[in-house]
Symmetry: C2
Subunit: 188 residues, 2 copies
């Protein structure tokens, strides 16, 4: 079973640090007694403040109904330690199994939403639906991140980036070009 990770609060305006690199994420949701988790790779940061994230959740997913009706979800960031779980979650349906039980994931209560945090992930971002204007046309949800929980170390964990066809690229190595940036484009 994967290790649970202790988290600290992280500024919601800076979640781009984890999401802009484009990792595959695990999206958890809940509605009444039902809960689910799905893999998701089609997402983008849209704004710093409010902290907005747009993502495509196909209507064929069991999670679609839970998220649309509850108007909330949690976006969780798995590392490569969870690779096989990520694949398992993506290859099964919450209509048939409880994925938390099947894959040994620990659901922890969130602060602002009913959807659970996944304790084994490196980070969890509590999200409320901000704009559903493009849900009918493109299954495109715009969420506001209300609270961010992030493991203290490492700063840049090794993450999975899906290419399709069962293959992932792996990110983890970090290179800095801070010296080449205009000062106003850096955090500090």
């Amino acid at each position: 079973m994967a290790r649970q990770r202790a988290k600290v609060d992280f500024p919601v305006s800076q979640v781009r640090c984890y999401l802009e690199p484009g990792p595959i994420v695990l999206v958890s949701s809940a509605l009444g007694a039902r809960r689910n988790v799905m893999t998701m790779g089609w997402h983008t940061v849209m704004e710093f403040t409010p902290s907005l994230v747009g993502c495509v959740i196909a209507s064929s997913n069991f999670s679609f109904g839970l998220i649309r009706r509850s108007r909330a979800c949690v976006i969780n960031l798995p590392t490569t330690a969870l690779t096989d779980i990520v694949v398992g979650v993506g290859n099964t349906s919450g209509a048939e199994i409880d994925k938390f039980e099947t894959f040994g994931l620990t659901a922890e209560p969130a602060t602002h939403v009913e959807a659970p945090l996944i304790a084994e992930c490196h980070a969890s971002f509590e999200c409320r639906l901000h704009d559903d204007a493009l849900v009918d046309t493109y299954n495109f949800f715009i969420f506001e991140v209300l609270k961010a929980h992030v493991a203290r170390t490492p700063r840049h964990p090794e993450t999975l980036h899906y290419t399709g066809d069962g293959q992932f690229m792996v990110s983890g190595k970090v290179i800095s070009r801070r010296r080449l940036f205009r000062p106003e484009m850096l955090d500090s």
Copy 2:
């Protein structure tokens, strides 16, 4: 000067292979005698067919007007060989300089759009504006990829994934879990 790369046609329904992993991209644009290139990290695949990509292009960018009025752009994929050029492009404005000249980038004619391909990039995706419903609210453009030009090798080049604060994660290593996927979720 960076090496130019010969390209072959690539199926537009499969551009997720290059964009879903979340790399920083160079977006080129043109309107009459003006042309420009900008860096962009806020993008997501939205559909296979038609091949749709959504992205945020801040209205403060010189490129915003060129793209909005021409209703087109080219999304180019740089590799880590172009890291310093990517940073230079992101730290300057096309209102003041011709970035192709300044950074030694080669503009090649596209087939369907006026915006140029960047010969030094690994791949170039010709895009036409598909839906501007969220441009006024979020600077969010939905493009259709009309034609994809991709270097034959390597299949998965080393790409840059921006974290903010002048730092990039690097992807390149590939891991496969094809054996764990349901057959209908694989390409072949």
